[in-house]
Amino acid sequence: MLEIRNLHARIAEDGTEIIRGLNLTVKAGEVAAIMGPNGSGKSTLSYILSGRSDYEVTEGDILYNGESILELDPSERAAKGIFLAFQYPVEIPGVATMQFLKVALNEQRKFRGEPELSTPDFIRRVKEAAAKLQINPDMLKRPLNVGFSGGEKKRAEILQMALLEPKLCILDETDSGLDIDALKIVADGVNALRSPDRAVIVITHYQRLLEYIVPDTVHVLYKGQVIKSGDKSLALDLEANGYADIIDAAA
């Protein structure tokens, strides 16, 4: 589903190289965890996959279902099924949450040549998805993410993911700022989306989330490269021993 080939990327504004020859393949149906110390490029990778213009790809390619997505803007990537659950969801005053959800859903459908959802159909879907994530309906009446607590924001991200039904889900530190109950709810939401035609990339610092969202593969990112890949036992190993040994071995 996703194939990242020798990717090099830098911050557009000042040219700082963050991703330095990264290779990664994620198959349909797979849950891949990406771990790594602070500053290794995890969040940057998620932004680059989503098409954020603050970063420039200088070398290599990103293939999604066999096609390069480098020329696509964020909305086109999203409509093709790539979804990034943000580490820090953005508050947008003046944009009503329900209106935002409806526009996003229908714009994606339009892009794919599908008919728009009727309002009752849309509302029914939102209500069902919100109930599963234990989201208070009053939250949806507020402007997008405005005044949401950290946990509410993360749940709202998963709600968007559930409604938009993406093919490639990227979760950027979705566990940060969540208490254990919220973590379970969010993990259940993600697990409900697991399917043979969908891939999930979980970016996290901690093994804890991976107890609830059990990965098929684990990749260690360091200085913009994947320096080690393995199965879920690699995450346990990291939790116990830290990154130092792996980094030393790779050096």
Partner: protein, 424 residues
């Protein structure tokens, strides 16, 4: 030694003066009205249209900007349109001709043409000052409008829409409106044009709010891209009166909306909420002056501007606090979203405070779309154009949300969204 050489009149100035000579035969008015008109025209002739050297017109050089004046065409046809809010009472002015049918029960409405004919209107036809070009032009040519009175205690359930539809030519109207003590009403002053042909529209509204009146007055200006629109709204707020004035400009080539108010009753509150949606080649100016003349009064002004293309916008806001107007609380803000490198906005806030125990503030900001907001919306599959429109909408929607009528809010939101879709 000072030698004054006569200035060479511009095409527009000549056209205005000539139009007066041509129309004099059928301009309505008794002797007093006609003599007032003559005075105004003679001032127009001797002083010409104001230039940037006149302080009040510094950012809107009317002499340079008003290039031509379309000839008045009494045969031009314009039809009424559906009211903005279903169920409103509607008083129409079609190509400058008023029709008093449609007035709601319980209020007094008289065509301004009648007030001109019997001379009642004569005292209105004056200049507010030497720079009052709008009063001068309007007073010279005014033919119709409505004189409206809401008797004490009247509460209008449905909005009253003053619907001014223009197709081409000229229209000059006046609306003296008296809101008696304790009245409550929502008035929609709506200017629109139904053709691409240029027109010149001038309009002057004079509002008096007696004790405790609570009035929402909405000016929605959606004239054509070739139209000149020169309008003035004057108001006087009595004791405990509340006026909420919404001004929405979403059309016109050359637009000047003046608002001049005095707060003469203690406990009165004034709110101005403005939205300027400026695109194409428009030059739109909102000029506001407010005098807090007595103690214990409040006012807030919030203007939000969105500019595309080569649009130019101006906001001049002046608040004067008289020496004995203690405890005045006045706040003014002008926020501009500049969405084109070729667009231009000038903001000139002024405070003149002669009392010592007051709270007054003003602020002006110019911003661009927040790139992080834009990215977030795009990352959810919303194309850039649409995402931008949503964010611009959010910027002005806060103002619309302050209206209390849900239908009106939705209608205005639709108008704004349509406008943005066309211009983004």
């Amino acid at each position: 030694m000072n030698i004054q050489t006569a200035i060479k009149m511009t095409a527009a100035e000549t056209a205005l003066v000539d139009a007066y000579t041509a129309q004099i035969g059928d301009l309505i008015g008794d002797g007093a009205v006609l003599s007032a008109r003559d005075t105004l025209v003679s001032d127009l002739k001797s002083q010409g249209l104001p230039t940037r050297r006149v302080e009040a017109w510094h950012y809107t050089d009317l002499r340079a900007l008003l290039r031509t004046v379309p000839a008045a065409d009494p045969t031009a046809f314009a039809e009424r349109v559906e009211p903005l809010v279903a169920g409103s009472s509607v008083l129409t002015v079609l190509n400058g001709k008023a029709d008093e049918k449609g007035a709601p029960a319980g209020i007094n409405v008289r065509r301004y043409a009648e007030s001109l004919a019997d001379g009642v209107a004569a005292p209105d036809l004056i200049e507010r000052g030497p720079d009052d070009a709008i009063g001068r032009i309007n007073g010279s040519f005014v033919r119709d409008g409505f004189e409206i009175e809401l008797p004490e205690g009247t509460e209008l359930e449905a909005p009253l829409e003053l619907q001014l539809v223009q197709s081409l030519g000229q229209s000059h109207t006046r609306f003296p409106v008296t809101f008696g003590a304790g009245t409550k009403a929502t008035i929609i002053e709506r200017h629109l044009s139904v053709s691409d042909a240029p027109s010149l529209v001038t309009s002057v509204s004079d509002l008096i709010l007696d004790e405790g009146a609570e009035i929402t007055w909405i000016i929605l200006q959606q004239q054509g891209a070739a139209d000149s629109h020169l309008a003035q709204l004057n108001f006087d707020l009595g004791t405990n009166a509340q006026l909420k004035l919404f001004v929405i400009n979403a059309g016109g080539k050359l637009v000047r909306q003046e608002i001049h108010g005095v707060v003469t009753g203690e406990g009165a509150d004034f709110k101005l909420r403005g939205i300027n949606l400026l695109g194409g080649e428009t030059h739109t100016d909102v000029t506001f002056t407010l005098g807090h003349d007595v103690p214990n009064t409040t006012s807030t002004e919030v203007i939000r501007n969105v500019l595309f293309d080569r649009a130019k916008g101006v906001f001049q806001g002046q608040i004067r606090v008289a020496p004995d107007a203690q405890k005045t609380d006045a706040k003014m803000a002008c926020n501009t979203l500049l969405l084109s490198d070729d667009a231009d906005f000038s903001a000139k806030p002024e405070l003149e405070i002669f009392a010592d125990d007051v709270q007054c503030g003003h602020g002006a900001t110019v911003i661009d779309i927040n790139p992080t907001h834009l990215y977030y919306l795009q990352a959810r599959g919303i194309p850039e154009n649409k995402a931008r429109a949503m964010l611009v909408n959010a910027f002005v929607d806060e103002i619309v949300e302050e209206l209390e009528n849900e239908t009106l809010i939705e209608t205005l939101e639709t108008i704004i969204a349509d406008w943005l879709e066309k211009h983004a």
